[in-house]
C-alpha cells in the first residue's frame, strides 16, 4: 500500500508510510472492536439457544443484531466510577494495559499472505509474549480496585496465566519445530495444499497436542471453564468488579480480542492458516504471491479462510463456556501441571522423534516438498558449512 501511495498518488514517503501504518492500525482496531460487537451478540444468542431461550430478539429488527451496539452506547453513557480507596492512576491505566497488549499481539498476526501488520522473524514468540502482558493489566486492575474480590481475582488470574504459559509454549513449539521457523507466515505457507498438509494431521502427536493447545488457550484467555478470575458466583465479577462504563468495556474488548487471537493462532499453527482444506486457488492456477489483481483476490479468499477458522474457534469457546461448569482453582492448576504440561512434553518429544523417523510422513505423496535451500550456514558433521551459492533456491524433497 505504501508503494502504491508513493508511486501512484505521489505522496511523500514519510506521509505514505504514516498513512499506511494508520490504516493498518485502524483495520486491526476494527477487527477487535467490530469482532467484539459481533461476538458479544453471538455469545448471547448462543447462550440463549443452549439454555433453551431466544436471547436478544428485538433491537435492530430481526435477531436483535444491534443489541451489542446498543449496549455499547449504554456503556459510553454510564458514569465512570472509581472506589474511594483505589490507586487512581493504576485504576485508570489497567484497562488500557490489557487492551494494548491484546491489540499489540495483532501486529504480528498474518490474516493472509502479505496481509500482516509487521512480518516478524519471531512472530509466534512475539504473539505469545505480548499476550502474556495482558495479565498485567488484570493484576493492576485487581490491585488498584482496593477490593478483596478484585484482588482475589487478580491473584488467581496471575497464577493461572503464568502456569498455563508453560504448556502453551510447548504446544506452540511443535509447529515451529515442524516448520523450522517462528515466522507465522512461513508456518502457514508450509501447510499449503490439501487438508492433509495441515499440521493437525501431520502425525498423531500433533493431533493430540492440538487439543492440549485448545485447553491451554481457553485457560490462558480466562474463558469458562477456566474463568476463575471473574467467577461471578464467588467473586462477584473478579478483577473488574469495580469497573464500569467504557473502562469495563475495554476489558471486554481485550478478552474478545484475545479469544480471537488465540483462535487465529490455532488456525495458523495447526489448521493450515489461510489455506483452505482444498487448494482452490492453485487448482485454478492462481498464485497469491505474484502481486497482480488475481493474487489479491486469492489473498482475500485466504483472509476469509482465516477469519472463518478463527471465528469458528471463538464460537467453540462459547459453546464450551455454556456447556461446562467452572472448575475450582486447585482443579485448574492440577489440569495444567499434572495433565497439560506432561502431555505437552510427551507429545513434543513424540513429534520430534516422528520428525526424525518419518520426515516424509506416512504417505509421502501427500506432502509438499520440504522447502527450498536458503542462503546461510547449515549444520554438518563437526560444525557448520556454508551453503554453496549454486544450491540456493533448489527445492529439496525430503526422503523418508
Amino acid at each position: 500500500m505504501a508503494e502504491f501511495l508513493i508511486n501512484t498518488v505521489r505522496l511523500p514517503a514519510w506521509l505514505a508510510w504514516s498513512v499506511t501504518a494508520g490504516v493498518a492500525a485502524a483495520l486491526i482496531l476494527n477487527v477487535i472492536a467490530g469482532g467484539a460487537l459481533v461476538f458479544i451478540w453471538a455469545e448471547r444468542k448462543i447462550a440463549g439457544r443452549i439454555q433453551d431461550r431466544l436471547g436478544p430478539t428485538r433491537t435492530g429488527g430481526k435477531f436483535g443484531w444491534l443489541q451489542s451496539l446498543a449496549d455499547g452506547l449504554k456503556l459510553l453513557a454510564k458514569e465512570d466510577l472509581m472506589p474511594d480507596g483505589a490507586d487512581g492512576m493504576l485504576f485508570r491505566l489497567a484497562p488500557y494495559v490489557s487492551f494494548c497488549a491484546s491489540f499489540c499481539a495483532f501486529i504480528a498476526l498474518p490474516f493472509a499472505f502479505d496481509f500482516i501488520g509487521q512480518r516478524m522473524n519471531v512472530g509466534v514468540f512475539f504473539v505469545i509474549a505480548v499476550l502474556g502482558i495482558e495479565v498485567f493489566g488484570v493484576i493492576l486492575a485487581g490491585y488498584a480496585s482496593a477490593s478483596k474480590w478484585s484482588l482475589f481475582g487478580a491473584m488467581r488470574e496471575a497464577a493461572q496465566v503464568v502456569s498455563y504459559e508453560v504448556p502453551l509454549g510447548m504446544c506452540v513449539v511443535v509447529p515451529v519445530m515442524l516448520a523450522g521457523s517462528m515466522d507465522l507466515v512461513t508456518i502457514a505457507e508450509k501447510q499449503a495444499g490439501w487438508l492433509t498438509n495441515w499440521y493437525l494431521f501431520h502425525d498423531p502427536f500433533t493431533f493430540v497436542i492440538f487439543w492440549v493447545y485448545v485447553t491451554c488457550a481457553v485457560a490462558s484467555v480466562n474463558r469458562a471453564p477456566f474463568d476463575l478470575a471473574e467467577a461471578e458466583s464467588e467473586l462477584v465479577a473478579g478483577f473488574h468488579t469495580e469497573y464500569s462504563g467504557l473502562r469495563w468495556s475495554y476489558f471486554f474488548m481485550a478478552e474478545y480480542g484475545s479469544m480471537f487471537l488465540v483462535s487465529a493462532l490455532a488456525a495458523l499453527l495447526f489448521l493450515g492458516g489461510w489455506n483452505g482444506p482444498v487448494p482452490v486457488a492453485s487448482l485454478l492456477g492462481l498464485s497469491e504471491g505474484t502481486g497482480d489483481t488475481a493474487s489479491y483476490f486469492v489473498r482475500l479468499l485466504g483472509m476469509a479462510n482465516l477469519l472463518g477458522k478463527a471465528s469458528l474457534g471463538v464460537l467453540i469457546m462459547m459453546w464450551i463456556r455454556w456447556t461446562l461448569p467452572r472448575l475450582r482453582i486447585d482443579q485448574v492448576m492440577m489440569t495444567c501441571l499434572k495433565y497439560c504440561t506432561p502431555l505437552a512434553a510427551a507429545m513434543f518429544l513424540g513429534a520430534m522423534l516422528w520428525q526424525i523417523a518419518l520426515p516424509g510422513g506416512l504417505v509421502p505423496g501427500l506432502r509438499r516438498p520440504a522447502g527450498e535451500i536458503r542462503e546461510g550456514w547449515l549444520p554438518g558433521p563437526g560444525g557448520a558449512f556454508k551453503v554453496r551459492s549454486a544450491d540456493v533456491g533448489k527445492v529439496v524433497q525430503v526422503s523418508p
Binding site: 519471531v122 491473584m155 549444520p379
Partner: protein, 244 residues
Amino acid sequence: MSALPMIAGALIAAPLPVAAINWHSLFFLLFASVSCGFAVAVVAADNVVRMAFYLVLSLGATAGLFFLAGAEFLGAMQLMIYVGGTLVLLVFGVMLTAQAPLVAIKGSGRDRVLAGIVGVALLALLLQAAFSVKPWRAPAAGVVAEPAATPIGMSLVGVRVDEPAVGAPAANKRPGYMLPFEIVSIHLLVVLVGAAYLARAKRRKVPRAIEVAASVEPPASVAEHASIGRERHRSGSVLAGGRP
C-alpha cells in the same frame, strides 16, 4: 480535539523538514525516553506496586530498543520473560507481602542525598566511558543484517551458523553455546526447586488471623514487634495474643 491540527501545524511550520527525520532515531528516542524516564520513576516512586508498573514500562520500552537494534528474538524474550514472567512474579510477591505500612517504606532524606551523589558520580563515569571510544560514537552505517533467531537457536545446540565477523575464525571453528545452555537449564531447574522450597507454606504454630492482626498494627520498633511474638507464644490463646 483541537490538538491534532495544532501539532500538524507545528510540524509544518518547524524549521526542520519532516523528510529529514531519521525514523529509526526517532523511534529510538521514543523508546529510550520511555525506558529511561520510567527507570528514574522507579527510583522516585514510593509505592511498590507503582514501582513495579513503571518497571514494566521501562523494560517493555527496552524490549522496543532491542527490536530497533535488530535483536528481535531477544526483544521477544525480554517481553516474555522479564515483563511477562519476572514481573508477574514480582507483583505476586508485592501483593503477598503488601500490607498497608509495607507498601511504602521510605528511606531517610540523608540516604536519598547520598545515593543521589553516588549515582550522579557513577553516571558521569559511565557516560565518560561511553563517549570516550571513538568508533562507538560513529553514526550507524546502515548495514542490514539477517534476523538472528535461527543462528541463536543453532548456537544454543552447539553449531554456529552465523556469518563470522571479519578476522574471526570460520564458523565451524567457533565454539557453540551448548554447554552454557545445558548449565543454564539445570540452573533454572535447581532454582525452581529451590524457590519452591524456600517459599513453601510452612506449618504455622498459631492461627494465621493473629499474625495478620499483629502485622497490621504498625510495629513501632523491633523490640515491640518481638514482644508481640513472645506474648503470643506465651499466652497461646487466639484472642489474648493480638494486642499487648
